[in-house]
């Protein structure tokens, strides 16, 4: 009798929870004259912090327009992945097929980008715009006619860094990078220039994404290299730097684009100070003093007091891509009829004004843009920031090479031991 009553109460509670859940799901019905944009970033896994900042950047672009484009309301529907391609495709499929978004912005990381690009071919009436994924193959191999990338990718972000490293006197370096598409691109961007100018890379260590123990890698660092090229992101970079510090390492570091991003400079470890002097290549530099960039940073700070002191790479790149999506809508006055043909034509021709200069697209719908060579410096308050050493404009995806001689970066390509 008593048991029966308890079961009944539990059942009632359970039913209430399920009903509440269902009601919330049903509440997301669409309104007329609304353009839905799907937004995918990694809110879980190794890039959770970056994904969150990416979402801030994308939201900022929408906010700057007051949530309206050409008289139509912009509704952003978010989804999350954990940097795994299958999860990213599932999340994208949900946004496109279930939530019926018109435009899709995302994903964040390299392998995800390739997988989402492949998926985009099965949805020819939806326009896909990249988030911040930076694998070369996304637009170089079997490009998809409805996948656009308004950010430069991993290899382009490193153009100019090889020369900067040699200028610093690093003649031999060891590469420590995560083992997937994006770091391959980054290492290629660095090495193709570095090797051509006479630098040597005797050892490359490819470590798993999300690895926690770097002691075996640290033990492999040869004595005779001048610097380490560290292409790790998010939590991996922090783990590596901490462990390298504890192991007594003192070699200078050449960073990948997401190694010394703002989220890394903010971390609290001891190795923090030894980051000063680290050079890196990136599509963003905190101290870039163009007025457009300063306005962007000020806007970011105003809108996200809980964000970083300065927007991270992910915030900027998501901002740029979301801005492209909205500017394109403005150009066609929100007209997405006819399988979005007009919209895509507008995107392809557009010269996008971004906080870091103008961006054009090449014939594969891949951005041609600006790269910054930066060096970590300390400001008066003791905070770290990236000061600009050099700015390289008009970097294309083939890194200035001819199409025939260009090979996509991999574990073994390029090589100069």
């Amino acid at each position: 009798m008593r048991q029966g009553k308890r079961v009944f109460i539990r059942t009632a509670v359970g039913a209430a929870v399920i009903a509440a859940l269902g009601a919330t799901l049903a509440g997301t019905a669409a309104a007329q004259d609304t353009i839905k944009i799907g937004l995918l970033a990694t809110l879980e896994g190794p890039f959770a912090a970056g994904g969150q900042d990416g979402m801030r950047g994308a939201e900022l672009a929408v906010k700057q327009r007051g949530g309206m484009v050409a008289g139509k309301k912009i509704q952003v529907i978010k989804a999350s992945s954990d940097a795994k391609p299958d999860v990213a495709v599932n999340a994208t499929r949900k946004l496109v097929e279930q939530d019926k978004v018109d435009i899709m912005v995302g994903p964040l990381s390299g392998s995800e980008g390739i997988a989402v690009k492949e998926y985009s071919k099965t949805q020819p009436n939806i326009t896909f715009i990249n988030g911040s994924s930076g694998a070369q193959a996304t637009t170089l191999v079997n490009p998809s006619p409805n996948f656009f990338r308004f950010n430069t990718e991993g290899a382009q972000w490193m153009v100019g860094l090889g020369k900067a490293a040699l200028d610093k006197g690093y003649k031999r370096v060891m590469v420590i990078a995560e083992d997937y598409a994006f770091p391959y691109s980054q290492v290629q961007g660095f090495m193709s220039e570095y090797c051509k100018l006479g630098g040597k890379v005797p050892v490359k260590a490819w470590v798993p994404l999300g690895g926690k123990d770097y002691s075996s890698v640290i033990a492999r660092i040869p004595k005779d290299v001048d610097a380490l090229v560290v292409v790790l992101g998010g939590a991996d970079a922090v783990n590596f730097l901490n462990q390298y510090e504890q192991a007594g390492g003192d070699k200078p570091i050449v960073g990948g684009s997401i190694t010394v991003s703002q989220d890394i400079l903010n971390y609290k470890g001891k190795r923090r100070d030894s980051l000063v002097g680290t050079i890196a290549g990136a599509p963003i530099a905190d101290a870039y003093d163009a007025p457009e960039f300063k306005a962007f940073v000020a806007d970011y700070k105003k809108n996200y007091p809980d964000g970083y002191p300065s927007p991270s790479l992910f915030a900027l790149v998501y901002y740029v891509n979301m801005k492209a999506a909205l500017d394109g809508l403005e150009a066609v006055k929100g007209d997405l009829s006819d399988g979005q043909k007009k919209y895509r034509a507008a995107l392809s021709k557009m010269v996008l004004k971004t906080p870091v200069g103008d961006v054009r697209l090449d014939e594969n719908r891949q951005a041609i843009g600006t790269t910054f060579i930066t060096e970590v410096a300390k400001d008066a308050k003791g905070g770290l920031y990236n000061k600009v050493l050099r700015k390289v404009d008009g970097v294309n995806q083939l890194l200035g090479m001819k199409k025939e001689e260009f090979k996509i970066g991999s574990r073994d390509e390029p090589s100069c031991p």
């Binding site: 359970g14 879980e44 999350s80 391609p85 299958d86 599932n90 279930q98 997988a115």
Partner: protein, 391 residues
């Protein structure tokens, strides 16, 4: 707990062994047929009549017409994925619910099958994929995965309870790091891309509706196979071993052999599920066999309930729905909280998952019914409830 109960039951009447446990909901009401009853030719109609109720017909028609009314998204990503994950979790339900062995390596077996199909068959990774005919790759994949499952079983059957979990987890993690760091065969972090089912009879089997029916076919096959198997002498012996291995050993059953065989059988189910999951994703990467997925399979099995082979499918539906829609309930990075909270609530309110919830609800309704007309059904129902809780 369960062993003590079993001992009591054995002392009370050893004959109940033949009825098999945990009983299917149907078996408690209808007397179990004597083994061999279906040998009489005219009995087959009666056999169906005894087993098929309106409920079964209703569910069957429901799953068959579902893709005709649902959107492609709900057909493919929700339903087909649930069926595939349910099939993999079914292998764990069989092992855990009927064999008393909780293995975390079922996703590893599934992943091995997926990887083998990608390696022997075609994928976008040249050089590492041999590009053999799809049926050969499929057979090899299933065979190798089943062998691997038997091997995992052989390694872990000598352990009990938490040690089985530990050793299978260790095997699962070892395989994860193997595929993550091996490039010559497994292609490391990127895994195998573009692994698709063959186009047969002019049907592209990865389209939403064909894939749904493909998944449905194998899910039903797995479901009825397990239902059948737990009534065979092997299945009953396995349940006896679950409850009291020493007594079964004394009765002359080879405990180790039965357990290894159970692993192999579960391996076949997981391998089929694994191939389907690989086709569903179109790729297989180390992420598919990582710890999160090993545990997800356990979550699905426990969520649904391990008392009956329908449990993992129910669990998979809830799991997939939550994975897809939790982010609509709470924004940003908090949505995993919803997923965790629902799992917690289900397990808290009903230790044997959704099935337990259902059984209790029904028991309550029937008790209320029985109170009005004096019935003898009540004590037997009670026994079934307690018995079912044992795994």
């Amino acid at each position: 707990m369960s062993a003590a109960y079993w001992r009591k039951a054995m002392n009370a009447g050893a004959g109940r062994l033949a009825m098999g446990r945990p009983p299917a909901p149907r078996a408690a009401t209808a007397a179990a047929p004597a083994p061999g009853a279906d040998q009489d030719a005219p009995a087959w109609l009666r056999w169906i009549w005894e087993r098929v109720s309106a409920r079964h017909v209703f569910v069957m028609v429901g799953v068959l017409v579902y893709p005709l009314v649902a959107t492609p998204f709900f057909t493919f990503q929700i339903a087909a994925q649930s069926l595939v994950l349910g099939l993999i979790a079914l292998s764990l339900t069989f092992l855990g619910g009927y064999g008393g062995m909780v293995s975390l390596a079922q996703m590893t077996v599934a992943g091995i099958a997926g990887y083998m199909v990608a390696i022997f068959g075609a994928s976008a990774t040249d050089g590492v994929s041999l590009g053999w005919p799809w049926w050969l790759a499929l057979l090899l994949g299933l065979a190798i995965a089943t062998l691997a499952a038997a091997f995992i079983g052989w390694l872990s059957v000598r352990t009990e309870g938490i040690y089985t979990i530990m050793i299978t987890l260790a095997i699962g993690v070892a395989f994860y790091y193997l595929v993550l760091q091996n490039y010559t065969v497994f292609n490391g972090f990127q895994g195998k891309q573009k692994v698709f089912p063959p186009t047969l009879f002019g049907i592209s089997w990865r389209d939403a509706v064909p894939f749904y029916y493909l998944a449905l076919f194998w899910a039903l096959a797995g479901y009825f196979f397990v239902k059948y198997l737990v009534r065979t002498p092997f299945g009953i012996a396995l349940q006896g071993i679950r409850d009291n291995p020493r007594r079964m050993n004394a009765l002359g059953f080879n405990v180790i052999a039965h357990r290894v065989a159970a692993y192999a059988v579960a391996g076949v189910l997981a391998a089929i599920g694994g191939v389907l999951f690989t086709w569903y994703n179109g790729l297989v990467t180390p992420g598919t066999v990582g710890t999160s997925w090993l545990i997800n399979i356990l979550v699905i099995a426990v969520l649904g309930g391990m008392r009956h082979p329908i449990g993992p499918f129910l669990g998979a539906i809830v799991f997939v729905l939550l994975q897809n829609f939790a982010i609509d309930v709470i924004d940003r990075e908090r949505f995993n909280l919803v997923i965790g909270a629902v799992f917690l609530a289900i397990v808290l309110f009903s230790p044997d998952g959704l099935l337990g919830l259902w059984a209790r609800l029904r028991a309550r309704l029937e008790r209320a019914d029985a109170r009005s007309r004096i019935s003898t059904a009540r004590p037997s129902r009670r026994v079934q409830l307690e018995g079912g809780r044992s795994p």
